[in-house]
């Protein structure tokens, strides 16, 4: 609150001056290429919406779009289910130990996504650690295909998404007033009821923030499905790549990108509304 008051104390001129460098940079590297993309998608030797009409009828595109949402939403939900208990555990730790654990959560951040993807192959691939162990234990009877298919994409995705989910939820849990839990305990509430009626609703803003970040990150995912997925697991970003580099159809590539942008924009706006509603009922503390 204090920082926002001091920021509004600046005159409008100063504010503009401070924002100018970033505005110029964003215009140059984001808005301009975006404009070019939109322009290319409707310009095939003259204005035309044919690229969009083609997309609407392309089974490949519709299949890829479905893949994208399935993987993004599925990955996000799994990240929520796996991340929430981790965040709860972290919130319950004394501060020094929490810092140590947080470093472990953050480690994937510091590793290149390429390196991580190859490392996952080494662990979960057909010749990977897990399958070697399974094979050893079962005498070669069991071999789980976990790479270059949907499982591989989700595994790689989770590895990337979890820190964002955990950190968002942890923030909410740490700001939760412990005395509310104590009060509920004196009233006779058990741990399960306290979780459903108090902890979960009061951590809603963090959960929604985590979901928002996860969906945004995963919907445009390119490397993970390319490296860890099979041919059936193509996502929209891979399709854009396919159009630009394999078929050299820039109009289709641009139209695909624009559809992805609009759909993810809609999704984010929708989640933002939910967050606004949850924020209203959130603690004033």
């Amino acid at each position: 609150m204090a920082s926002s008051t001091s920021a509004s104390d600046l005159g409008p001129g100063t504010a503009l001056l401070l924002l100018a460098p970033l505005t110029v940079l964003m215009a140059a590297i984001l808005l301009y290429p975006l404009g070019v993309t939109v322009w290319t998608s409707v310009n095939n030797g003259g204005f035309t919406l044919s690229a969009y009409a083609d997309l609407a009828q392309s089974t490949l595109f519709l299949k890829v779009l479905r893949n994208t949402f399935e993987i993004a939403i599925g990955g996000t939900l799994m990240s929520l289910v796996i991340g929430y208990p981790v965040a709860m555990h972290l919130a319950a730790q004394p501060p020094t130990r929490r810092t140590a654990y947080l470093i472990m959560v953050m480690l994937p951040f510091w590793t290149s996504i390429l390196v991580k993807s190859f490392a996952l192959v080494a662990v979960f691939g057909n010749q990977g650690l897990v399958n070697q162990l399974l094979g050893f234990l079962s005498g070669g009877a069991i071999k789980l295909p976990m790479m270059f298919n949907r499982v591989g994409v989700i595994l790689g995705m989770l590895n990337f998404l979890l820190p964002f989910m955990i950190l968002s939820i942890l923030g909410s849990l740490l700001s939760l007033d412990r005395r509310l839990i104590l009060a509920a305990e004196t009233m006779g509430a058990g741990p399960l009821r306290i979780f459903w009626r108090i902890t979960l609703p009061l951590s809603m803003p963090g959960m929604i923030a985590g979901i928002l970040i996860n969906v945004t990150l995963s919907i445009g995912m390119y490397i993970t499905p390319a490296l860890l997925g099979g041919r059936q697991d193509m996502m929209v970003a891979n399709l854009v790549d396919f159009y630009t580099r394999q078929t050299l159809d820039w109009t289709a590539a641009s139209a695909t990108a624009v559809v992805l942008l609009v759909l993810s924009g809609l999704l984010v706006a929708l989640l933002g509304r939910v967050r606004g509603a949850a924020g209203l009922s959130e603690a004033g503390a």
């Binding site: 509310l180 104590l182 004196t186 009233m187 006779g188 009626r197 959130e282 503390a285």
Partner: protein, 365 residues
């Protein structure tokens, strides 16, 4: 009203709490009778909140036994102790309406919906806040929030309500109003209440019995009257009410009656509750309102110069600087047409010997 024959609601037997290398609470024995209003009074760090948290089950005792309502609760988890607790910051659930907040403990107890509606309605009427049932806590004032948090306790009839400085966040006027409201609820509902505060006025106003705590020990306990008029230690005397203390040596007077030889003279003193050896250091307590300013000097008195006179409304406080540099406070009732002695004038501050109280000298350090 000291209830000694009524069955005990809470019984602490040698309960102590040690953190790492700090004794937050030395072994304490304390019994709270059913229906009693007991206040734990003391400065911060005196162990009063630790004692409350031990009874609530939020911290585990290092030694001793806690019996609540006839049941050994020493290792019982908080949610099975059947108590109510009111917190200083109210601890209302911010995401629930006032109604949902008060209904929560009833839902925990699996009370049918229709009865929940009836009981929440009844308790909201009791605290005269029926009109805010559908608001959220943060839309209410601090005083209203604290009444809601009281209602949330009362609604499920716990045998014992613990209050941890519940009025600490409210302004003076509201605090006094709430003190009376809590007292009224206590009288109407007959619930046993254990109240923690560092405010002596609050303790005097509300309690059947005050347990004064100091340095992790019970310093003294008794009715407000007892603590005010019959303090047993200098700490008790100074913590409750204001006090004039004259330090000296206890001696036998010409007629054999005890006298205290001080830097300001030798004064007759009443016999102490617990015998003090002749020749030992002791202190004489005289409450400011038991002293008067006087011209003549046939009663017991000390002399000094008026340093200041302060009008406190119904009473006037005179500060008398004595020869040894100490200041004696004399409190008199205010009267129309009152004439104060001028600043710097020599006066005598006198008292009746039987209004003095002899206390053992506090331990050094």
């Amino acid at each position: 009203m000291t209830v000694t024959t009524a069955p005990a609601m809470v019984e602490l037997q040698g309960v102590s709490k040690r953190y790492a290398d700090v004794d937050a609470l030395h072994p304490v024995d304390l019994t709270i009778a059913k229906g009693e209003f007991v206040t734990l009074l003391g400065p911060s760090g005196s162990g009063k909140s630790t004692l409350l948290n031990l009874i609530a089950g939020m911290v585990a005792p290092s030694s001793g036994r806690i019996v609540i309502d006839g049941r050994d609760a020493t290792t019982l988890p908080t949610n099975q102790r059947g108590l109510g607790m009111v917190f200083q910051n109210y601890a209302l659930m911010p995401h629930m309406t006032v109604f949902e907040n008060i209904a929560f403990p009833l839902q925990v107890r699996k009370v049918p919906k229709a009865e929940i509606r009836r009981r929440v309605g009844a308790v909201l009427d009791l605290i005269q806040l029926g009109h805010v049932a559908n608001r959220r806590p943060r839309e209410l004032s601090g005083g209203q929030q604290q009444r809601i948090s009281l209602a949330r306790c009362i609604v499920y009839n716990p045998a014992l309500i613990l209050m941890d400085e519940p009025l600490g966040a409210l302004d003076k006027k509201l605090r006094e109003q709430m003190q009376l409201e809590i007292k009224r609820l206590h009288a109407e509902l007959g619930i046993t209440m254990l109240y923690v505060t560092h405010d002596q006025d609050e303790a005097l106003t509300m309690s059947d019995r005050i347990v004064l705590m100091n340095g992790g020990r019970i310093e003294q306990q008794g009715t407000p009257d007892t603590l005010y008029f019959r303090p047993e230690t200098v700490f008790s005397a100074e913590f409750i009410g204001s006090s004039n203390l004259l330090a000296g040596t206890l001696e036998a007077g010409p007629d054999g009656a005890p006298v205290l030889r001080t830097a300001l003279g030798t004064f007759p003193v009443p016999a102490p509750d617990r015998p003090i050896e002749r020749g030992a250091k002791a202190m004489l307590l005289v409450r400011p309102e038991n002293m008067t300013l006087q011209r003549g000097g046939d009663t017991v008195h000390v002399t000094g110069r008026i340093e200041d006179s302060i009008l406190l409304g119904g009473v006037v406080r005179h500060f008398v600087r004595c020869a040894d540099g100490s200041t004696i406070i004399v409190q008199e009732l205010n009267q129309p047409g009152r004439v104060d002695a001028e600043r710097g004038h020599e006066v005598a501050a006198g008292w009746l010997p039987q209004h003095g109280r002899l206390l053992p000298a506090p331990p050094a350090g």
